[in-house]
Amino acid sequence: MSNNLRIKKGFDIKLVGLPQKKIEKIDAPSIVVLKPSDFKNVTPKLLVNEGDAVKAGQKIFFHKDLPEVFFTSPVSGEIVEIVRVEKRRISQIKILTDKENSAIQFNIPSELSSESVKNILLESGAWTYIRQRPFDMIPDPQTKPKSIFVSLFDTAPLAPDYTFILDKAKLQKGLEILSALSEGKLNVSVNNDEMSSIANKVKGVNVISVSGPHPAGNVGIQIHHTDPIRPGETVWYVNAQDVAIIGELFLSGIYTPKRTVGLVGSGVVDPRYFEVIPGQAVADLVKDKIKEDNQRIIQGNVLSGTTSNESDFISHYTNQVTVITEGNQPEFFGWALPGFGKLSLSRSFFSWLTPNKTYDLDTNTHGEERAFVVSGEYDKVLPMNIMPVILLKSILAKDIERMEALGIHEISEEDFALCEFVCTSKIDVQNIVREGLELIRMDA
């Protein structure tokens, strides 16, 4: 089965610093750090103590609310420190790696059924790669989703090219596993023939050919147009790179969360891809590769990524690290100049005459926060049958019934990121969306 989905609304932010088609290895880390904060709404319960030796794939902590969901070590080594912050909340689990690379071997069943696949995923810690809409969190293994979505491409600014970086055999295996898990309700979105042919090789997959500008690659948009979520329903999704990791687990029986991360952006000297282990120091990745002074390191893309720094560690789900200049410089009469080098969706800067130009954007807000004034802006970049400003206002009013009627369960922060980008009033749109989703989650 195959469908076409053409997205018309949206916008591609063309930035300087696209990665070259080059994957490099960096030295194996001596310390790997697990951060429970990588996982949304997870309260960790520890299964190890300081001084314990662990193997790759060994359980480190579990999800307090969903005790079947385990988080496992990406490497073999010794737990050297458990860092707690206020209220004894665990912020970091530090593992000193050894050179043995001993790993737990999982017994892969020959018969792939929804149950057997689920067991391996839970035991190995790979279940954490599955997330649900609404709320973008790890789903309860006891529930069944309406369907599972995988987007094999990313349209976000400077996003990695999965067609280039992913091992096709592992990817195909991963899709087979998810197809078994979903019991034939797996939707895979592609934007090129190569990925399309891989997805079509997997039995029981609904392949969706998507075209159009960002956010066409977001699963939220794809779900909305193919299998919309009604209140009370959940859809699961897995990122393309995570599918390949799941595939490798089932091919080799070993949990290997190694991933290829794009080091991109105008602040990077020679943007390219690197193989890293989640939990590895950000400094390992960026050292000697980024421009000095006044740069912001972001785990993820410039729209929905999180601010990081050199003393941070690569997160569980990170696929790209973007480095751009901090825009902490005032600009003389900036609002009144013609603005040839400034990117704006409104055509009030002359840059609209050069649509293919790439921009070196900094983190300046280009103005102060104001009340909602301009209308119709958000609609131009949100390819969903949702009224964004009306929905945001219902969130600000904390009107749960209205939020649900307006479709809050269909959206996620990243789907509204472009709305935040274009906002003339500089409103923190994603923050409002997050608050709204949190209200709904607490209410349920």
């Binding site: 005032p330 969706l345 800067f349 280009h366 500089k426």
Partner: protein, 385 residues
């Protein structure tokens, strides 16, 4: 530029929270951000932002208003010398116009911004850039003969009751500039209607010519539409009226700037013109056959050219805060404005210029229009779900 930055930085600490001039923090802030786009960076959420901000939005509207303003200045001189039957060059007209119009603009800005600053000091909120546009819109809707104190009063009324009592720009539900105009219309009717459209300041050795009539087209058209000036003159704006509204051409240039830059809603502008035209056609069909001078016989496109139809459609109805905010809502809102203007013009001879009050009325109805649109949206969402 560096000098300006140094100057700003040197006095900045005095206005910081906790220091002596803390009260004037937002006042200082307004001047600083006027000179410099601030150095604030993104905190949570997106890391890069579109270069557009509210100051830029307002700037675009001001640029769009410039053709109307310049034409208004010229026409003020042109009408003046015409009334005295004098020959006048382009420069004569501009100079006379500037002398008359500039003080009105200055007073409007000074009075309105004064109130904004006062509120920013007493209420401790940032000065919004909304008044940059409102301050120019008010003069353009006034007759050139208006006393300056009245302009000041209108501007104060507009900022105070049009915006600040609701919480500032973005919170008001009626167009502040129109509110000021309406306030002045009802408070000082003698100055806002009648033979006030042309500045008749005496010219040494000249008398007002006998053929001069102070009546605007809207008064003429109610008695006999056939005696209106030519469509071309009305389109270009060679006629009497408020300072900025006579030239349809200048308004259309403004409309193009607003629509291309994405600042003004094409949905609203186009649907007002369409609504007015359709209603005009309907009037023609229903017009009494035995009275050929009846206003209902007025060609539909004349409604576009008369009075402030174009100015209202392009600059007043499009105010994003007081207009409908949903895309469908904007079309309904625009159509209703166009229809109502024509209905009121034709059937209410006592009150010929309907644009101002129609837009204000629809400002009040805009939230209801939006509400209906949103409810329909929710219903279709439920049906598809």
């Amino acid at each position: 530029m560096k000098l300006a930055r140094k100057l700003v930085d040197s006095v900045k600490p005095k206005f910081a929270k906790g220091s002596k001039l803390e009260k004037y923090h937002y006042l200082f802030d307004a001047f600083e951000t006027f000179l410099f786009v601030p150095d604030t960076t993104t905190k949570n959420g997106v890391h890069v932002r579109d270069a557009m901000d509210l100051k830029r939005t307002m700037l675009m509207v001001i640029i769009a208003l410039i053709p109307s303003m310049l034409f208004g200045i010229w026409n003020t001189g042109h009408q003046h010398y015409l009334a005295f039957g004098m020959e006048s060059s382009f420069m004569d007209n501009m100079i006379f116009g500037l002398i008359k119009v500039l003080p009105i603009i200055v007073v409007s800005y000074a009075a309105g911004l004064g109130v904004e600053f006062l509120f920013s000091i007493t209420k401790g909120h940032p000065v919004s850039e909304g008044y940059l546009v409102t301050g120019l819109l008010i003069p353009l809707t006034l007759p050139v003969t208006v006393p300056l104190w009245m302009v000041a009063l209108g501007a104060v009324f507009c900022t105070l009751l049009g915006k600040e009592i609701f919480g500032g720009t973005g919170m008001n539900f009626m167009n502040p500039a129109l509110l000021a105009r309406a306030f002045m219309f009802f408070a000082f009717p003698a100055f806002m209607s009648g033979d006030i459209w042309t500045d008749l300041s005496p010219e040494v050795g000249h008398q007002v010519v006998d053929a001069f009539s102070g009546a605007t087209n809207l008064v003429v058209f109610d008695t006999n539409y056939a005696s209106l000036p030519s469509a071309w003159d009305m389109f270009m704006g060679f006629e009497q009226g408020s300072i900025g509204e006579t030239s349809v051409l200048a308004c259309l240039i403004g409309a193009v700037i607003l629509i291309v830059s994405g600042v003004g809603s094409w949905r609203i502008i186009v649907s007002i013109f369409v609504g007015g035209y359709l209603m005009g056609l309907l009037m023609n069909i229903l017009a009494p056959a035995d009275n050929l001078a009846h206003a209902m016989h007025t060609p539909a496109h004349f409604h576009w050219l008369m009075g402030s139809f174009a100015f209202g459609a392009v600059f007043m109805a499009t105010d994003p805060v007081s207009a409908a905010q949903t895309n469908t809502g904007k079309i309904i809102y625009g159509l209703l404005i166009g229809i109502m203007i024509v209905v009121l013009r034709v059937f209410n001879p006592a009150y010929p210029e309907a644009v101002m009050l129609t837009i204000l009325l629809l400002n009040v109805f805009a939230p209801i229009i939006d509400h209906i649109v949103v409810e329909r949206h929710i219903k279709t969402r439920l049906k598809n779900a």
